[in-house]
């Protein structure tokens, strides 16, 4: 959910974010839905493209 919000804030479609991260749109979609666990490398790439930290996008305070 955090990823989706950050992506929309940046005015990017799933396809655009996918192209910037060199992955498929489906992969971004599945990460947003929480159905795929990306590797740390991909997390870093997504965070860098969206100008966010890993914590901002992938850290869940409730699961602490």
């Amino acid at each position: 959910m955090k990823l989706k919000v950050a992506r929309v804030e940046k005015n990017l479609s799933q396809q655009e974010l996918a192209d910037l991260c060199e992955v498929t749109r489906q992969t971004i979609g599945l990460i947003e839905k929480g159905k795929y666990n990306p590797t740390l490398n991909l997390c870093i790439k997504i965070s860098s493209v969206l100008d966010k930290t890993l914590n901002d996008l992938f850290w869940d305070e409730n699961k602490k």
Binding site: E22, V23, T24, Q26, T27, L30, Y36, P38, N41, L42
Partner: protein, 143 residues
């Protein structure tokens, strides 16, 4: 192809690989016990499966697919004994139960020496690969 596609592809390839190996095993058993074919008639399948298993274990050991922390002499000896017992049972069954020839104890003992030697060479090869694999990883960490 992104990381997710690669992960899925690798998982499916691994499953298909094991299914193929099990299918080949099934074919070998079917040919031997149902069709009653001679061992020499499906030697190709047996050789292919043996080489396949040998290289699979070798590659797993070299590339760190097996969690080998420390090579303990006790574990190596135990593994060797297990392999020797299994190999001996297989050799005994092959000639005295499934085969038509009843081997004398002397003949069986001669064959067991060969089994012990082959297993020794095989395990030596795997130990060497484990050491080389560990060194390779240590070198990568060092770089």
């Amino acid at each position: 192809m992104d990381e997710r596609n690669k992960q899925i592809a690798l998982r499916i390839i691994a499953i298909m690989y094991f299914l193929t190996i099990f299918a080949m095993q099934g074919i070998a058993i079917y040919r031997q016990f149902v069709l009653g074919q001679e061992l020499s008639e499906f030697e190709d399948i047996a050789i292919l499966m043996t080489i396949n298993s040998l290289f699979l274990i070798s590659a797993l050991l070299y590339f760190g697919g097996v969690p080998v922390r420390k090579l303990k002499i006790k574990t190596i000896i135990l593994a060797y004994l297990v392999f020797v017992v299994l190999g001996s049972l297989f050799t005994y069954a092959k000639y005295n139960i499934f085969g038509s020839s009843d081997l004398s104890f002397k003949q069986l003992f001669d064959k067991l020496i060969i089994v012990c030697a082959i297993i020794g060479i095989m395990m030596g090869f795997w130990i060497l690969l484990s050491i080389l694999g560990k060194r390779r990883t240590e070198k990568e960490i060092g770089d």
